[in-house]
């Protein structure tokens, strides 16, 4: 499952719109990852600040 670096995340939600399995949700200042995540890495490639990784 993808891990979110909470110190780096900007809460922009850009990754959420790219998730093919709807595993990401942004609640104001918390990005959560659900069990749906299959580590396709699309969000990791997108993140402008490198807050996502495995």
């Amino acid at each position: 499952m993808i891990k979110v670096d909470k110190e780096r995340c900007m809460h922009c939600g850009g990754c959420v719109g790219l998730c093919p399995v709807d595993a990401l949700t942004l609640s104001e200042t918390e990005l959560t990852v659900s069990d749906n995540c299959n580590e396709c890495m699309i969000c990791v490639k997108f993140c402008p600040v490198g807050a996502l990784g495995v």
Partner: protein, 391 residues
Amino acid sequence: MDVECLVIGAGPAGSMAARELAARGIETVVIEKRQEIGAPKRCAEGVSKHGLEKLGIEIHKLGISRVIKGAALYSPSGKKVVMEGHDMDGYVLERKVFEKHLASEAIKEGARYMIKTQAVRMERENGRWNVGIRSLDGDDEIRAKLVIGADGVESKVGRWAGLKTLNRLTDYHSGIQFEMAGVNADENYIHLFFGNDVAPLGYAWIFPKAFSSNVGLGILEKGAKMRAYDYLKKFIEEHDDIFKNASPIEINSGGVPVAHFTGMVSEGVMLVGDAAQLVNPIHGGGITRAMHSSIMAAEVAGHALKEDDLSRERLEEYEKKWNDEYEETTSKLMKLRGFLEKLEDKDFEMLADMLEGEDIFKLTQAKLSFFVKKLIKKPSLLGLATKYLKE
């Protein structure tokens, strides 16, 4: 709570929809998951004055941070092409003020707002949508005849309604921005910088505001060797003349959908703005398109609610209106984007020598035929022009 219309998201799209719906006497509730409307921005805040005038949209003077008279474009080696004239007049907004004003206009028309209130699920039942919400008052449910999804790039409404709102990494800019004070650049212009080492398959920008500037860039991952953040740091380091006395006072990031794939309506659901991927595919601007989509959606919704017919077929009138107005332009701009994505830095230099400001304005208006005629005289670009730009 039962309402006629629930708008999810209170950005420019959501508040414009709410204002237009409420003005038609439709009972409208707006929910916004953030604790403050308009912040943090995910945007460089630029709008064209001409574009707003065409839609009859007036912006409150406090929402305008700076009036702009044109754009200066820079090739990778620094060759400058200036675009100015009546059509290039624009504003750099203060989004937070601009959006709060739009919300106040909607509230004046009778819309009700709930902030720090997030939609957590949405199900269809007896011809209505039951939307689960979470706020400081706990969990609750709103039942609505019509849901307007104005929930931005991370739209859940579209997914809950079964629409294919998924964005593709190949058509989605990774954006980063510092709002900086102390920037040394002509504040009458926005400044756009091109080059595959500057912002691969995108561009870097400086948008001057009242006492600061939005300095940012958008890139496509397929052309990038590092993260957007690293490109921005490099851009600032390499322009010491502009940034040597500048410091950031805010950082923003975001995704920009630069292609439109999704359907815009389903049973009792309409998507507007970024949620429906309604962004100009060439420059990535989305504020005016978002507000226009909401004006169109509210008009159709007004009639559909009166007729008590919120079927997908009835609401498709909105999608049709949108396509009639924008489909041709958008598809031409997509072609242009395909062409520009193939250019090397030396080609940008050639274009900087070849094009005047007026030419570039025409390109942004999807007028391509003159451009093809010019390109055909350049053997090195003939192949690409034929492949990407021919009608």
